[in-house]
C-alpha cells in the first residue's frame, strides 16, 4: 500500500517524478468513484490535499489565480464578483457535498467535455499552470484540451493553478440538464462580454469531443456604438453560429440535434442578458 502525502509542492513534484504509477488525488469526485467500482487499481496514490500552495486563490490585479485544489464551494463564496461565469458554473456542479470536495484542478485533469468549469475558462481566456520536478509552464486554455478526457497535461506534471482574467463586463453561464442538481450537462455555454475591448468570449460544454469556443460567433459584427440597435436577427445569428461551432453526438443524455437547438437558444439568451446588463443605462 502506497499513499503519498506530500506536505508541500516541491515534495509533491518530486514524488510525481519518482512514482509515475501514483495517481494524483484531490477531491476524489472522479477518482474515488473509479476506485470504488474497481475500474482502476493504481499501485499508489498521490494525495494533493495536504499541499498548501495548491489550496489558496490570490488576487493578481487583472486576474485571479486559483490553486488547483480550491474547492468549488470557495469559488462560489469568494469569487462571484470577479469571476461571475465561473462562480455560476461552480454552483451548478453536483451538490453541496460534491462542491465541498470537487476542484477546478481535478475538473481540468479529467478533461471531460462535460466539465462545468471549462466553458467559463474558455470564455474568459484563462491560463493553466503546469509544473513538474524540472520546471513550470503555462498553457492557454484554448490549447489545453486535446481530445475526449485528454489534455496537454504531460506525464510527470501536476496542474498547480488556473489564472482567470477578472470580468470586464457582464457574464453568463447557462447549463441544460434534467434537474437543477447532480446532473451532467446536456450542453452548456458561458459568455463573457468585454465592453471596453468590444469583445465577446464564448465557451461551450458537452457538445463536442472537447470543451470548445465559438470563434465565428465571437467575430459577429455587433452594434457596440449603438447598443440599442442590437436586432433580433443578430441575436439569432449569434445563436446559430454558436450551435454551428459545436460538434455534438447522440448519447444517453441527449441527441445531437437537441444539443444544437438548445445551444442556439441558450447562446441567444446569454447574449441578450449580458448585452442588456452592459448597456442598461444607455437604453433609457
Amino acid at each position: 500500500m502506497t499513499f503519498h502525502r506530500p506536505a508541500g509542492l516541491a515534495e509533491a513534484l518530486r514524488l510525481r517524478a519518482d512514482h509515475p504509477g501514483a495517481v494524483p488525488l484531490a477531491g476524489g469526485t472522479d477518482l474515488m468513484v473509479a476506485l470504488n467500482y474497481r475500474h482502476t487499481r493504481p499501485e499508489a496514490i498521490l494525495d494533493l490535499t495536504g499541499v498548501p500552495e495548491l489550496r489558496e486563490w490570490s488576487d493578481e490585479g487583472e486576474a485571479i489565480r486559483i490553486g488547483a485544489t480550491v474547492p468549488y464551494t470557495r469559488i462560489v463564496a469568494d469569487l462571484a464578483a470577479d469571476l461571475p461565469a465561473l462562480a455560476a458554473a461552480s454552483l451548478t456542479v453536483g451538490s453541496p457535498q460534491i462542491r465541498n470536495r470537487g476542484t477546478l484542478g481535478g475538473n481540468l485533469a479529467t478533461a471531460s467535455p462535460a466539465g462545468d468549469g471549462h466553458p467559463p475558462l474558455l470564455a474568459t481566456g484563462a491560463t493553466v499552470h503546469l509544473a513538474s520536478a524540472t520546471g513550470a509552464r503555462t498553457v492557454p486554455i484554448g490549447e489545453f484540451f486535446t481530445g475526449p478526457k485528454r489534455s496537454a497535461l504531460a506525464a510527470g506534471e501536476l496542474i498547480t493553478a488556473v489564472t482567470v482574467p477578472k470580468a470586464q463586463g457582464p457574464q453568463q453561464f447557462l447549463k441544460v440538464g434534467t434537474r437543477n442538481a447532480m446532473v451532467i450537462a446536456v450542453c452548456s455555454i458561458a459568455l463573457a462580454l468585454d465592453v471596453e475591448a468590444r469583445r465577446l468570449g464564448t465557451g461551450i460544454g458537452s457538445a463536442g469531443p472537447t470543451p470548445l469556443a465559438a470563434p465565428e460567433a465571437e467575430r459577429l459584427d455587433l452594434p457596440w456604438t449603438a447598443p440599442h440597435r442590437l436586432s433580433d436577427a443578430a441575436v439569432a445569428e449569434f445563436g446559430r453560429l454558436v450551435a454551428a461551432a459545436a460538434s455534438p453526438i447522440d448519447d444517453v443524455r441527449s441527441s445531437a440535434d437537441y444539443r444544437r437547438h438548445a445551444l442556439a437558444v441558450c447562446a441567444a439568451r446569454a447574449l441578450r442578458r449580458t448585452w442588456g446588463a452592459a448597456f442598461e443605462r444607455s437604453r433609457v
Partner: protein
C-alpha cells in the same frame, strides 16, 4: 503494508489501519470500525446516503480516501442533535429509512449555519441527498420543525409564548397528529393528539 490514520470521529480520537490506498472513509467507518450509522448506497457521490461532516463540511464519505483524513475531524449521524432526528420521526419524513442518516447530517449542518432557512434554501442544501420514498415534502417540513425545536431549545424565536414550536403554516400534518418534540425524551417521539 498498512498505513495508520489518526482521526477524530464524533469526538473520539480513533486510529485506523488502512491497507488499500483507495479505501474510502465510508468503508473504514462501516467495515473497519463497525460504525454502521453511515449508509452505503451508490458509492459514486450521487445519493448522499453516506454524508458526514469532514472538518465541519458535508461530504460524501464514499468519495474521501481515509488516508486523506490524518488529523481531521469527522462527524457522523451519531453526532446529529436529537431535535433533528425527532423532527423526522414526528413529520413522517422517514419511510424505508436508508437515506435518513445522510439527510440528518445534511440538515444538522444546514441548521448549524442558518437557524430558519426557507424552502428554497432547504431544497438547495439537500440537493445532494436522494430519497426514493417520501417525495421530500415531509423532509422539508421536518427541517422547519427541527429549526423551531432547536431555536426553542436555544430559548429564542420560532415558538409560541409558552415555548411550543409553531406548526409550519404549510404543514401536511393533520392537526391532531401534532406533537411537541421538545417535551419528549430524545428518541421517544410518539404521535400524540390535540396538541397544541
Amino acid at each position: 503494508m498498512s498505513v495508520p490514520v489518526h482521526l477524530r470521529i464524533d469526538g473520539v480520537e480513533t486510529r485506523a489501519e488502512v491497507d488499500r490506498p483507495g479505501e474510502s472513509l465510508l468503508g473504514t467507518l462501516r467495515d473497519r470500525l463497525g460504525l454502521t450509522g453511515t449508509k452505503n448506497a451508490c458509492e459514486q457521490g450521487e445519493c448522499g446516503s453516506c454524508t458526514v461532516l469532514l472538518d465541519g463540511d458535508p461530504v460524501c464519505s464514499c468519495l474521501v480516501a481515509t488516508a486523506q483524513c490524518e488529523g481531521r475531524d469527522v462527524r457522523t449521524v451519531a453526532a446529529v442533535p436529537g431535535e433533528v432526528r425527532d423532527a423526522f420521526v414526528t413529520c413522517g419524513a422517514v419511510q424505508c429509512g436508508f437515506c435518513t442518516p445522510g439527510f440528518l447530517v445534511a440538515v444538522a449542518d444546514l441548521l448549524d449555519r442558518e437557524s430558519d432557512p426557507d424552502d428554497a434554501r432547504i431544497r438547495e442544501s439537500l440537493a445532494g441527498n436522494l430519497c426514493r420514498c417520501t417525495g421530500y415534502e415531509k423532509i422539508i417540513e421536518a427541517v422547519h420543525v427541527a429549526a423551531q425545536a432547536m431555536s426553542t431549545a436555544a430559548g429564542s424565536r420560532g415558538a409560541e409564548a409558552d415555548g411550543t414550536p409553531r406548526i409550519p403554516s404549510r404543514s401536511h400534518l393533520h392537526r391532531n397528529q401534532w406533537i411537541n418534540v421538545d417535551t419528549l425524551p430524545r428518541g421517544e417521539a410518539e404521535i400524540g393528539e390535540d396538541t397544541p
